[in-house]
Point group: C2
């Protein structure tokens, strides 16, 4: 089979796919087909077992070009049919408008620009960490490459720049090869309207190897040679690939072919030009199918050999081998959760960021899959256990690739996308990233994809409120928890004490498909009398019970103990107040309605207490005590007083609430007329 036949098949399938949908992006697939064909030809992967751990990874960072990816996956015999291509971008099809991680052969969800290349950095880090941890002489279990395609759009995004910079720093040994689709076109037209930097020089300044192909449309040997050369360097490599967007179309080289289907006449001339029947659609020449099938058969043999290698390895290194088997099975060690610390009311007050450090230090020994770091706030986030080894190239003298602690630099968004990539690698990785809660917002794009793709990563988000004090309103979260709680499939823990902190980690580590934010205080919190891991792990529970309360106070994190103090004060004034702690809305929402109503029943006024925006708390409460303005700089305890978050401030408002609702019929806010069908 000629390579050109395969390449034109790819081009025309992508064109037909977009045309049939009457929606999508034909231009990039047409320009990138030669690179895709050449790259896949030398990749190791098994379409019958897309989860094979040592497969090469391919990330389409310019996710809008997904007609290309679906075409490749279809041609290589992944679980797609020609009808799947024909239902591109249709409701509930297997070929949605951007690639989604749960689809066969799709490594990570892309489309939001810049995320894919940052995920690819994470995938390459994961490979390097596993190789350094498990590979032994004659047992190169982890040797895969991570490849990425990226367009000009990705290169302009800050998240990509952050990850590219870190990859350059970590470079010595990362098996990462990225193709830059240098087609001089973006949606606004010629890239010269906004993007005129010297990309190769910029990458080199950041420690990357940069190679160039003369002509990405025709020079297959050049592409193959660049790939081969890239594998001889230890650095991550960018291959510049000058292409013509929409290659072959009458409109080639313009943004007219970027985001709209080609016109019928254009498609016909294209098929003629490529030697295909202009009247036929979705044509796959037999030679192409056969040639690709041959490559798959070879690859399957590679996996067979690899499995043999793992068996032999497990005999020679039984402990490591069994650990690896466990991780590949996606199982946690038995009884790992016994390492979670518990507390009683007599234990001393501790900041929950410190409680988090105690958890990490305790569980890391049980969980070799636990890896993480901080965006340059290690000493503030307390994310590093005492004898952690840094993940650094050995050449730096600062650590090695078996290290499990990452120095992400001041790169929150990049960090978020990188831990998504580490998680996407598999092998049960539990990856976390630390920063101040307020700066999780810098990484919103990556957090959203954690939730959408179901990467069970963890954000260690310290300094979680006005309680951080002097740093002031630029650092004090107000809207942040509302933002995160409104995201589907995201746990947002805000533990009130030691037991609740352990519960947060229990759920976060156990999670298979739901990421977690753990919001932690800078300031000390007392240990609560009625908290327990078991209760907190339900997401919400009565932490200060009284019989027949006149009012229920519902709070989270640092405000739970203040609410309890308020309830005690109310008690002395003859008002019976109980307190409910809701450390995580997502988990509480997943409990049976009957349990929820036992915690927040009909007939009792409920007031929320949290030093944040009240936005969203009305789902659990009739009245809200919060802070619907920005914070203020000053010592933390004084700020709490300033905003009246004290026993008195709580009791005062609670009394008003009791008065207001006296004699009024009240439903629990959780007692609903209809259940959302889509929750």
């Amino acid at each position: 089979m000629s390579d050109l036949l395969a390449i034109n098949t790819i081009r025309l399938l992508a064109v037909d796919t977009v045309a049939k949908a009457n929606s999508g992006h034909p231009g990039a697939p047409m320009g990138l087909a030669p690179a895709a064909h050449t790259l896949f030809k030398q990749m190791r992967f098994n379409p019958r077992n897309p989860a094979w751990i040592n497969r090469d990874r391919f990330v389409l960072s310019n996710g809008h070009a997904c007609a290309l990816l679906y075409t490749m996956l279809f041609l290589y015999g992944y679980d797609y049919t020609i009808d799947d291509l024909k239902s591109f971008r249709q409701l509930n099809s297997k070929t949605p408008g951007h690639p989604e991680a749960e689809l066969p052969g799709v490594e990570v969800t892309t489309g939001p620009l810049g995320q894919g290349i940052a995920n690819a950095v994470g995938l390459a880090i994961a490979q390097a960490q596993l190789a350094a941890t498990y590979n032994k002489p004659n047992y190169e279990l982890f040797s895969n490459y991570t490849y990425a395609f990226l367009g000009d759009g990705c290169l302009q995004e800050g998240v990509a720049q952050e990850a590219i910079s870190l990859a350059g720093h970590l470079g010595d040994g990362l098996k990462l090869i990225a193709f830059w689709d240098d087609n001089q076109i973006s949606i606004d037209g010629d890239t010269n309207v906004s993007f005129t930097e010297d990309v190769p020089a910029k990458f080199r300044a950041q420690g990357w190897e940069v190679l160039s192909v003369k002509d990405g449309n025709d020079d297959l040997e050049g592409i193959a040679a660049a790939l081969a050369k890239a594998k001889t360097t230890n650095k991550p490599t960018l291959i510049r690939l000058p292409t013509i967007i929409g290659y072959g179309s009458l409109q080639q080289g313009t943004h007219g072919v970027h985001g709209s289907p080609l016109k019928p006449d254009d498609i016909k001339q294209l098929k003629k030009k490529f030697g295909f029947d202009p009247e036929q659609n979705f044509v796959v020449p037999r030679e192409v199918t056969e040639s690709y099938a041959k490559h798959v058969a070879d690859n399957q043999q590679v996996e067979v050999e690899w499995n043999k290698l793992l068996t032999a390895y497990t005999k020679e290194y039984p402990e490591l081998g069994q650990e690896l088997h466990r991780r590949l099975d996606g199982k946690l060690p038995e009884n790992w959760q016994k390492a979670l610390p518990t507390y009683t009311v007599d234990d001393k007050p501790v900041a929950s960021r410190k409680l988090s450090e105690i958890v990490l230090t305790s569980i890391e020994k049980e969980l070799p899959e636990l890896v993480g770091g901080s965006a340059d706030l290690t000493g503030s986030n307390l994310t590093r256990w005492p004898d952690a080894v840094d993940f650094q190239p050995k050449s730096t003298g600062l650590g090695d690739f078996s290290g499990r602690y990452f120095r992400f630099g001041v790169r929150e968004h990049g960090m978020g996308a990188i831990i998504n990539g580490i998680s996407a690698y598999g092998a049960n990785f539990k990856a976390y990233g630390g920063t101040f809660l307020n700066f999780v917002s810098y990484a919103s794009g990556a957090v959203r994809l954690s939730a959408l793709s179901g990467h069970p990563i963890i954000w260690v988000a310290t300094h979680d409120s006005i309680g951080l004090g002097e740093d002031g309103p630029t650092h004090q979260p107000i809207e942040t928890l509302a933002h995160l709680r409104a995201l589907p499939n995201l746990m947002v823990w805000r533990p009130a004490d030691g037991n609740e902190t352990s519960a947060a980690y229990l759920r976060a580590i156990e999670s298979k498909h739901t990421p977690s934010i753990i919001a932690l205080t800078r300031q000390n919190l007392p240990q609560l009398e009625h908290s327990s891991i078991e209760k907190a792990a339900k997401g919400g529970y009565t932490v200060y019970p009284v019989e027949n309360p006149d009012i229920i106070l519902v709070a989270s994190g640092s405000e739970v103990s203040i609410a309890i103090d308020g309830a005690k004060k109310l008690g002395t004034e003859g008002v019976k107040a109980s307190v409910v702690s809701i450390p995580d809305f997502f988990t509480f929402d997943s409990q049976a309605r009957s349990y929820q109503l036992s915690v927040l029943p009909d007939g009792v006024p409920i007031m929320s207490v949290e030093v944040m925006s009240t936005f969203g708390w009305s789902k659990y409460s009739h009245e809200q005590f919060g802070i619907n303005r920005f914070g203020i700089s000053g010592p933390g305890p004084e700020i709490y007083k300033f905003f009246e978050f004290t026993a008195e401030g709580v009791a005062d408002r609670a009394s008003k609430v009791v008065q207001f609702y006296k004699g009024k019929e009240l439903l629990s806010p959780l007692n609903k007329a209809f259940e959302s069908v889509h929750a």
Copy 2:
């Protein structure tokens, strides 16, 4: 006076300030004092009139070093006293933990890393745009420079990288000079743990001039020479300034001096070393005061001359002069709002992104201060009026600096911070940025600072829901509006038709201190019978009135017409349903409670209807119909059906709600036991 005396005065004031607060960052001020002294000495500004429009701007991008900034402003006689320095980081002081834009002499709020340098790019763009628009031969009204200090942290942030890249592209003529505090230290220790790129080479690759000072601690002549040289190039310039963090401290050169006060003994030896009395604090030698006062006096004369120039200019160019006077007074043209289009129910359905384009095209003629652009989605956001001129260096042949349309590239976060900077310049700039609503999240950090600092910028946020269709869940906002609505001081408009779109722009353009997001549809929306600019400008109103309703449906944007269809269907079934449109929570929340309760009264069940997360809607409604999961790829209308957002889907749920609450006493969710004191 010797320069060294002034520099050591600055260092010690900063040290004393941090020590007195027992909180803050002494290291960077100590290292940067020589540069600050040398820079301010040649800057044009008037402490008696910090708003003088042609002043040089100084941005402290590494905002944690604010003890330095407050010290400089105090020494130069801005409205700060020594007691203000002594109450650094205390509650309600004038010297909060990070610099805040509303303080005298502080140009922009910084602290969240990377924002400041991006703001500085915006400030420089604003200067260039005004210069190209108003300067005439012999009338160089706008000639100021924008200076920035930035640390290693800023350089790692994506938002900074985006802005730096765009500044390099726009470079030919931007009066922007940044000092990189190259002190090899960040919070995690030596920068070599994560930040090893070749910064000068990277800046050069992006079109910047890069200069180097040999020793930032001592070489004052070198700093002055670099500044002078920077002014001879047309490019934005980075001056590399190797400094020792905490210069003079026993712990100098370590991260130990980054974020904690110096120890008392250390401060004493420092004062001795610098020739100051070790027992005295907050000392300002008379010579320093006098020398700085002299510079201020000179500068005041510069402003006097400038005012004369403006007077002469206004005589020679009366039209431009008066326009400029109006802008400097912060006034809009009289009757500008008459340019806002209005619609009747007979007008045809139009997508609100198109309605937005019609508004922009209509009002831009009235408002020369209206400038904006898109993050590479011009044709999708419809942000460019037909005969707009692009803001580009003339040398590109693509526009000139009088242009009011920006090609931001795929740089949402950078765009957000840049338009904050343009707004911060003054001259009544109304700056907007366009992207898909979902990708406003990429810019969360900048949006938060728009709200915190009160920059009345505008986000043109199109493709605002599942209605965008085929692009699928990666592009469909679910949590986005909840996130933005939870931010204090932010209008989040989601207009339902043409009149509401005009109302959104009316409020956004009129706004002095509150930014706006305008969420707009890709799909067509019908013109509503009862909408008007006046009613919508209240943020919420009854758009489909019925007498004594059995239920009130409350909706926003594209769901308002669906709710009305649902109400009509309910009417045929004997259920009386009215519909309330809430195009903006912030504006509705600012209405009198009596008005709010007239719209959402006691005694009637209220159900919200919006194709987003229901999070937050319980503040206005008893029941919520929304989408608490991610979206799906497919044609927009089919997705609406899939999620049952149709007249039938609405009516079905509304009937259940009416049944459920029949005979039950019901308060409006807006009828509250207590008013938040901090709202």
